[in-house]
């Protein structure tokens, strides 16, 4: 890395100075283990929810909501800790957020199309 910076990094005056601390920020090993444990628990919850859905016959919407909530929790943990977004500088956090905003735009507008199909109902045959 030092070699690279000799050849490529000498102009690094952009946002480098004020993010120096971010480059050295790190996540402790203990935190990694705790996050890993949390992910295992969430995985067990996913399987458990599937089991319960089969036994209790939960409403479909509720089942989906539970599955989504667990999935979002897992994703958040992975992005924040394993992908280091929590200790990254602002620009990185902004890009990570932008990806989710872009994803949300895609899903919301696409689903908007699906919900609005058939509004208004197609007119019948002409008299």
């Amino acid at each position: 890395m030092a070699k690279t910076s000799t050849s490529a990094g000498h102009g690094a005056h952009g946002d480098g100075a004020h993010s120096e601390h971010a480059a050295h920020a790190h996540i402790s090993r203990g935190t990694y283990y705790r996050v890993f444990a949390a992910l295992m628990v969430l995985m067990a919850l996913t399987v458990g929810a599937w089991w319960i859905e089969g036994i209790v016959a939960l409403p479909r919407l509720l089942g989906v909501a539970i599955a989504m909530a667990i999935a979002i929790a897992k994703t958040t943990l992975i992005v924040l800790y394993f992908m280091h977004v929590k200790v990254s500088e602002r620009a990185t956090q902004l890009y990570a957020a932008a990806a989710f905003i872009g994803f949300a735009i895609m899903v919301i507008i696409t689903m908007g199309d699906y919900f609005a199909r058939g509004w208004p109902p197609p007119p019948g045959p002409l008299p």
Binding site: A8, G9, H10, H13, A98, G102, A116, W119
Partner: protein
């Protein structure tokens, strides 16, 4: 640190003992300038290949009978043209060639932030290209470049998987380049080079990179899902398997409309540089041009449904998409108006790059305004899948991106090679391209409005005159493209030595030697002025003193 002295030799300097070493010195280089040259060669190869496919299409359309090739071969020919031109020429052309060469130079950096990732991006591009080419060699693909389902996922008997694998891999190449540009812009600007001192080319590349990073994964996934449905019969898009074909269109256009901005935003950046340099004036409304690039990048994510007005999309969605499509005309118009205002009272010299820039402005305005026609639901339904659409997007992509690409290549050719090209032939070829382009594509607006559908090789006889005119224009256009290849190649041997700054331009890239040394600058430059800091009296002084080289 910033003042470390490095051995300075031109990046083209060759001291390899034999041919094998020479090849290795290029294929394993991590110098952004050499990688740009690798891209230049590869991308121009694909451009010629895509042009060859277009030639066959235009020859076929000279007669209304469909007598040169069968409808199936014709389908494969226009698909080859579309796939090659979109994925392997238009999307990477300006970022990978001019962006790779210029971004570190404009930022006052020694290289991009991740030089090895940069080299990897070229290999990914080539690897994707090999897949696409092998699909063509093995019989081609007949889906059109849009790969609409369920035809592509279920019914097509052509090399769909190979082709989409090529496009999928090439997407990663784009992403690698974009990540490099974003990191370099944030972290490696020279001292004093604040965001609002950046050249507008850098702003444009930054906005483009944002679009690439956020949009490309979506098309990657969409193409992967097509492959999954095609190989394993998993019902995703095919109604017969319980899927929804319109979902594919949503996912595809979520990328492919922003992809239009991936093609055109870098072109805007090039044009800003050219207009300012050859008007000898600070660009008018710098901040507005910079922010309009970002506005286009963001709004570009909200308009994809205007490609789907006849797809069974809900009418309410169509209305919303139509309205937002109108909005995106605003930042595009801001740029054109600001370039025009820059020209006002400028000392305009009609050198070859400027001819391309002026051509760009005219053609892009026609392409952009017809885009507004197509954004209106009622008109779009009338001309959907006609030659009107074909003419529109060629005005934007060819009239926009290719004009800017050629203008940029000419403008920075002295910097890239250290040699000047033949200015007279440059001007002639720029005019030939402009005339040939309009001859080719303007008749297509008329054809489309009269009802000629795209992707058909048999047509009513009354359309023949317009098709012949279009094919004749394509011939002129092809001549216009071949001439620069000849005189630019000749300039490498016989061209006049350019000097460091032949255009008397501002910008850090002109403050180093031509061609630049491997590490770009003897010492990292310190920036103390705004971009395009032409002295206020420069234009007036030039008007008083005739500038050599102006043909008018």
């Amino acid at each position: 640190m910033a003042t470390t002295a490095l051995p300075q030799r031109g990046y083209l300097h060759d001291d390899t003992p034999n041919l094998g070493e020479w090849i290795r010195s290029w294929l394993f280089t991590v110098d952004h300038k050499r990688i740009a040259i690798l891209y230049l060669l590869a991308i121009n190869f694909f451009f010629l290949l895509g042009g060859l496919a277009a030639t066959f299409v235009r020859i076929e359309l000279i007669t209304p009978q469909g007598d040169l090739m069968s409808s199936d071969v014709y389908n494969r020919m226009f698909t080859l043209h579309g796939v090659i031109m979109i994925f392997f020429f238009l999307i990477p052309a300006i970022p990978a060639v001019l962006g790779n060469f210029l971004m570190p130079l404009m930022l006052g950096a020694r290289d991009l932030a991740f030089p090895r990732l940069n080299l990897l991006s070229w290999y990914l591009y080539m690897f994707g290209g090999v897949f696409a080419l092998s699909a063509a060699v093995l019989g081609g693909v007949d889906t059109g470049w849009t790969f609409y389902t369920p035809f592509s996922s279920t019914y097509s008997n052509s090399n769909v998987i190979l082709t989409i694998t090529g496009a999928f891999i090439m997407g990663f190449s784009s992403i690698a380049t974009a990540v490099n540009f974003i990191a370099t812009t944030h972290k490696m600007r020279a001292p004093g080079l604040t965001w609002f001192r950046l050249p507008l080319f850098v702003w444009a590349m930054y906005a483009t990179s944002l679009v690439i990073v956020l949009a490309t994964p979506v098309v990657g996934i969409a193409l992967l899902l097509v492959a999954i449905e095609r190989i394993w019969g998993v019902g995703i898009f095919d109604p017969a398997l319980g899927g929804d074909p319109v979902l594919f269109q949503h996912l595809f256009w979520f990328y492919s409309h922003p992809a239009v901005y991936i093609m055109i935003l870098p072109a805007f950046g090039v044009i800003s540089e050219l207009i300012s340099t050859f008007s000898r004036k600070r660009i008018f409304g710098y901040e507005f041009i910079a922010f309009s690039s970002m506005a286009i990048a963001i709004l570009g994510f909200l308009v994809w449904g205007h490609h789907m007005f006849v797809s069974s999309q809900s009418v309410y969605s169509s209305l919303v998409f139509s309205f937002i499509t109108m909005l995106i005309a605003i930042p595009s118009a801001i740029k054109v108006f600001n370039w025009t205002a820059t020209l006002y009272k400028g000392s305009i010299s009609y050198r070859t790059p400027m001819l391309y820039a002026l051509g760009f402005m005219g053609l892009f305005v026609i392409g952009g305004l017809t885009g507004i026609f197509l954004g209106v639901v009622a008109i779009d339904i009338h001309v959907t899948d006609t030659y009107f659409v074909v003419a529109h997007f060629h005005y934007v992509m060819v009239g926009g991106t290719i004009m800017a690409y050629l203008g940029g290549i000419h403008f920075w050719w002295p910097k890239m090679t250290g040699r000047m090209y033949n200015e007279i032939w440059g001007g002639i070829s720029a005019l030939i391209i402009f005339v040939g382009f309009n001859m080719t594509f303007f008749p297509q607006f008329v054809l489309g409005y009269l009802g000629m559908p795209r992707r058909y090789h048999v047509y009513p006889e009354e359309f023949q005159i317009l098709h012949v005119l279009s094919s004749a224009g394509a011939t002129v256009l092809a001549v216009g493209f071949v001439i620069p290849i000849i005189y630019l190649m000749l300039s490498l041997k016989t061209g006049r030595i350019a000097g460091d700054n032949p255009w008397e331009a501002t910008g850090l890239e002109w403050r180093t030697s031509s061609p630049p040394p491997t590490h770009n600058f003897e010492a990292i430059p310190v920036v103390t002025t705004e971009a395009y800091a032409y002295p206020p009296e420069a234009a007036a002084r030039d008007a008083a003193e005739w500038r050599p080289g102006s043909p008018l």
